[in-house]
């Protein structure tokens, strides 16, 4: 009964938390936008044929009049090449969300595994993994990303997500390790151990469920972190070699003097949508924190 009440409480607090619900709704509507956006825009796309009959969006296809401010036809105007900014924004958002899910998911999984193993096994395994983690923590990840990406002749969204995911895990590993350590010393784990339950069963049966809320929050932060990292990489000019992304849009905008030309419709929307997305993620996280942490609840 008490366990049930506790679970019920958390879900109740989560679903009544304004931050959580508001942030979630906003994120969902962005996902929806990225899915149905091209259909909304009703603009002919510039496609080119890749080998084997696949087609890809051609970012250099000229579609409309260049330099035109927002109009009923081009909702967010066109850039210097005459491409529709809204359409690019939608495709860019897609690639950002994809990087967030793959990169963030990967970083979460790697961070959780390393943190779990390190915290649970202790000893030499712990020492070695933590040394690795500490090294990854002090090395500026962006610099590593830059040097790897710079030498990749072909870069796609998937590879970008992979390298971001594989470099973004250290803080998670460290946090999960200490969380595991504190859970390990709790009563119920001792009990399980005394009654000779197998270690893996303790990890997945006792420790993991208690960390579920925590894992969810970690994923949200990693999701946002991966998006920001990708946007930065794209802006530097090391993003996907084909297709577009929010970072590439901004890189193009700066390279083609959108600032000096005052093309605000080209420079504001991509960054604004990232900022809004990341801020929404933070908001969801704060909401979850309030729901999971009784001390922060307002009554």
């Amino acid at each position: 009964m008490r366990e049930w009440l506790k679970k019920h409480d958390t879900i109740y607090f989560m679903l009544t938390n304004k931050r959580f619900v508001g942030g979630m709704l906003f994120i969902l509507s962005l996902i929806l936008l990225s899915l149905i956006g091209p259909w909304l825009a009703r603009i002919e796309l510039g496609w080119y044929i890749e080998e084997a009959g696949k087609r890809a969006l051609d970012p250099t296809a000229n579609i409309g009049t260049p330099y035109s401010p927002p109009s009923p036809k081009n909702w967010l105007g066109t850039n210097s090449f005459g491409q529709d900014v809204f359409l690019q924004l939608v495709y860019g958002l897609r690639s950002s969300l994809l990087v967030g899910i793959i990169g963030g998911g990967l970083a979460t999984v790697v961070g959780l595994s390393i943190g779990f193993i390190s915290g649970y096994s202790g000893g030499m395994v712990d020492e070695t993994l933590m040394m690795l983690t500490n090294i990854m923590l002090v090395i500026p990840t962006m610099a590593v990303l830059i040097i790897i990406a710079a030498y990749l002749p072909y870069r796609g969204v998937l590879i970008e997500s992979l390298i971001i995911g594989l470099t973004g895990w250290p803080w998670t590993a460290r946090a999960v390790r200490s969380e595991t350590l504190s859970l390990k010393s709790r009563e119920f784990v001792h009990l399980a151990r005394i009654s000779a339950v197998r270690p893996l069963k303790i990890v997945f049966g006792e420790i993991a469920p208690n960390m579920l809320s925590y894992v969810f929050m970690v994923f949200i932060l990693q999701f946002g972190g991966s998006i920001l990292a990708a946007v930065g990489l794209d802006f530097i000019g090391l993003g996907p070699t084909r297709g577009t992304s929010l970072g590439i849009m901004l890189q193009q905008a700066v390279l083609w003097n959108a600032i000096q030309l005052g093309m605000w419709w080209w420079i504001i929307p991509p960054g604004a949508i990232i900022t809004a997305l990341i801020a929404a993620l933070y908001t969801v996280n704060t909401g979850l924190d309030e729901a999971f942490n009784p001390r922060l609840r307002e009554m």
């Binding site: 409480d9 109740y12 607090f13 009554m299």
Partner: protein, 320 residues
Amino acid sequence: MTAVDILKAESLKVYYRTLHGSVKAIDGVTFEVRKGEVLGIAGESGCGKSTLVNFLVLPKDPMYHAGGKVFLKGKEITSLPKHDLRKIRYEEISIIPQYSMDSLSPTRRIRMIIRDLMREHGKDFDPDLVRERLSMVNLPQSVLNMYPVELSGGMRQRATMVISTLLNPDILIADEITSALDVSTQKFVIEMLLGFMDRKVVSSIVFITHDLSILYQIATRVMVLYAGKIVEIGPMEEVIEKPVHPYTKALIYSLPKMNVRFKERRLKGIPGQPPHLLNPPSGCRFHNRCPLATKRCEEEEPPLVEVGKDHYVYCWEVKV
């Protein structure tokens, strides 16, 4: 109320706000703390003893005052504004908390912690007084220049005891301070508390514990709480030797060894669980676990019965 009462609570109710309604942690208790006595408060965990003292010292959300009055040296304190409460705390009522092992900020030297707290009450750091008090608890002067991390847990607790009593409060609350200690340290801590009494550092002590055998060593009177209500209150010796309320009896019989007298009895716990305080049972709260319970116990609140000099129980089934 007589002049010797330092603290008096009248039908005090302290509830917790929760999603599902109010948890009635303290539900109408009346008692007093007299000058020069050590009042012990005993009961299982969850009986409301910590709620009671935390309310007296520092009510914090989601805990709230749901009724009744508390008089400290004749002043009603539940309705006092924040500023006045701040002054009362420490100068008139003080606490050695349950968490006294980590009650001191880790990044400040003990001397500075003391100095800062003194200044909050418009006093200066008095080196002679501090020296005297430190020696009372067997702490070297050098701790003043240390950070709390440099002290062991026991030393930290003793430092906390010194700090809590520096302003000679009228009433000192000791909240489960012996729970985490081994037997010899327990004895030592109790001797130090009694030393504070003897030297008139504090005039009264409220000692909270779930361990009656410790209470026996220090308390003048004992108050037994069950599910947010008083079940029995009376002189320590008498309550231990002649417990009247069925719950007190069960509590005493469940002790491993209290007195030779009980040696032949089998060690037994109390069957059943304390009730949920969200919807406490009607009538006597102990009725579902009580061997003597009758229909009346389930329906009506038990009356206060005087069973001896200064010895009271709340029970239907007690005959005087």
